[in-house]
Structure formats: structure tokens, C-alpha cells
């Protein structure tokens, strides 16, 4: 067994100042994306319901009088309620109910996702509706 088999192990340090840079960058990015969610968006909202990444239903919320119920069929049934100013997943057969607990979507960009059913509900604003929020390499 040759002794040179193991590479020269460099010693680890618990903490270096540059580690703060990573934390700061992450915090800055978090604040940036959080702010984007709270920027008020005027104009008509459109609710977009997708399954398997494909849009299956689209509705301008301003056209709704009181309440509209849309049921997404499939292995896991998801029930979406659309209101003149908001949208909400009100029922789902999935196990953890994270989509239901997301609550009401009121702003453009708000999204409720049911990963088990692969269904998502997104509110879109008037403009730039098809641009992705971000592209991660």
C-alpha cells in the first residue's frame, strides 16, 4: 500500500469571515424576493390553474359575480374557489393539506401548490404575465 494514496488533507476551519458573505447574499436575496411579493399590483387579476405544468383553466377574476367553484379532477381531486378579488384552494384530497392551508391568494404572483396532485393555482397581474419570476441555472 503506497503511503501517497491519501491526498494531503487540508485542515477545516469552523468559521471564516467569508462565510458571512454567503449568509448576507442569501438574506439579501430573500428580502428582495419577499419585497417583490408585497409590491401592490393594480389592475385585473387572472387566476390560472395548472396541472402537470400545463394551464388547464384561466379566468379573469373581475368577471366573477360572487363565487365560482372549479374542480380539478384526477387521482387527487382539488377544489378551487374563485372570488372577484381572490382565489383559494378550499378542498383537496391530498394528505398534508398544505395547499389548503396556504389560504387566500390576493396579489399577482400569489400561488398555492398541491404537489401530490401536481396542481397549482396562480394569480397573474395585468402585465408581464408570462415572464418567469426567476430562472435558476
Amino acid at each position: 500500500m503506497s503511503a501517497g494514496y491519501y491526498y494531503e488533507m487540508k485542515k477545516l476551519t469552523l468559521f471564516k469571515k467569508s462565510d458571512l458573505l454567503i449568509a448576507l447574499a442569501a438574506a439579501a436575496a430573500a428580502v428582495f424576493f419577499l419585497l417583490r411579493l408585497f409590491v401592490p399590483q393594480g389592475g385585473g387579476l387572472t387566476a390560472e390553474i395548472s396541472r402537470d405544468g400545463k394551464v388547464i383553466y384561466e379566468k379573469r377574476l373581475s368577471g366573477i359575480a360572487d363565487r365560482e367553484i372549479y374542480t380539478v379532477g384526477g387521482d387527487i381531486v382539488v377544489v378551487v374557489a374563485l372570488y372577484p378579488d381572490s382565489a383559494q384552494i378550499i378542498e383537496s384530497q391530498c394528505r398534508d393539506k398544505i395547499c389548503v392551508n396556504t389560504g387566500r391568494l390576493t396579489r399577482a404572483g400569489d400561488t398555492a401548490v398541491c404537489l401530490p396532485a401536481r396542481v397549482s393555482v396562480t394569480l397573474k397581474g395585468e402585465k408581464a404575465s408570462d415572464e418567469p419570476d426567476i430562472v435558476v441555472g
Binding site: 469552523l14 471564516k16 438574506a27 436575496a29 430573500a30 419577499l34 411579493l37 398534508d96 404537489l115
Partner: protein, 180 residues
């Protein structure tokens, strides 16, 4: 470098180490699934204990070994929690294992805390990219929470890496088992 004669070949040590790390990754994965979901956190937000193992493997064995452990870990998720969860685990695992191994071996800029954070963040971003591909880009709504949580959890795994390495380093320099 140590010029002692080892009584076990490097290959055997490698196989043994990979076996231990792979089986531990299954145990850690199961243990994490027992923890209650964390409030206000998106689905699947985990502590990332498995990252400690891939980081250790990356440090001692190298990138192929670390990817092997990740594959075992994600394969287990495939079997127990389905294709969607498996794909997300695989994407996050591979991305973070490449990032942490490169940082551990090729750079001297960051300490364990930073490397752990980079691992946690890249894991979350990889997962999020797959989640977005499976549903729609709207999933990026979760991004702020994932960034903050990935950082915190990553720092914790980085701390763990540092202290485990201090103990495991002895093993790898031969003192623990070859010195008597």
C-alpha cells in the same frame, strides 16, 4: 503524509466508508421524516442531516463517492415516498454534493459554516428548480423561506461537519485503529 504500512488496502477502506455513509444516510432520512413539519415552512423543508454525510464522503473519498451516497439516499426516497419526492431529493442532493465537495477540496476561502450554508442553499435551489419544472414557475413563491431556512439548516450541518471531522480525521490518519 504518513508513511506507515496500512494493514487494510485503500480500496477496502473506501468500500467500508461508503457502506457506512450510505446506510447512515438511510437512517438519517428516516429519522428526519419522523420530525414534525416546521411551521411556516414549505413542504419538504428538512434539516438536511444527509448533507453531513455527503460532505464527509466528498472530503474523504471524493466526488464520485459523494454522488454514490446521494444516489443511495435518493433511491430510498424513490422507493418510500414516490417519484416526485425522489426526483426532488435527487436534484437537490446532486447539486449540493457537487458544490460542497468542490468547496471542501478545491477552495480555502470558506469555513465549515459557509460550506454547509452553500450546501443547504444549493440543495434547496436544486429542489425548487425540479418543483418548478413539475408544476409551474409560481413555486418560486417559496424562495424567500427556502433561502433563509437553507442558510440556517446549512450552518447547522456545517457545524456538525466540523466536529465530526475532528473525530473522523483521527480515524483516517490511522490513529484510531492502527496505533496500538
Amino acid at each position: 503524509m504518513d508513511d506507515r504500512e496500512y494493514n487494510i488496502s485503500g480500496a477496502s477502506r473506501k468500500v467500508a466508508f461508503l457502506g457506512i455513509m450510505s446506510s447512515l444516510s438511510l437512517v438519517f432520512g428516516y429519522f428526519e421524516s419522523l420530525l414534525p413539519p416546521i411551521a411556516f415552512m414549505p413542504p419538504g423543508a428538512k434539516l438536511g442531516l444527509g448533507n453531513i454525510l455527503t460532505m464527509l464522503t466528498g472530503r474523504y473519498i471524493g466526488l464520485p463517492g459523494a454522488i454514490f451516497v446521494t444516489l443511495v439516499k435518493s433511491g430510498f426516497v424513490f422507493l418510500t415516498r414516490g417519484v416526485t419526492a425522489g426526483l426532488m431529493s435527487l436534484a437537490g442532493g446532486v447539486v449540493s454534493c457537487i458544490v460542497t465537495t468542490l468547496l471542501l477540496r478545491k477552495s480555502v476561502v470558506f469555513g465549515c459554516t459557509g460550506i454547509g450554508m452553500a450546501g443547504g442553499l444549493s440543495h434547496n435551489l436544486g429542489q425548487l428548480a425540479v418543483a418548478a419544472a413539475l408544476t409551474s414557475a409560481g413555486t418560486f413563491y417559496y424562495l424567500p423561506a427556502l433561502l433563509v431556512f437553507g442558510c440556517a439548516a446549512g450552518a447547522a450541518t456545517g457545524f456538525a461537519l466540523y466536529y465530526i471531522d475532528r473525530a473522523a480525521g483521527r480515524f483516517f490518519n490511522g490513529e484510531a485503529i492502527y496505533d496500538r
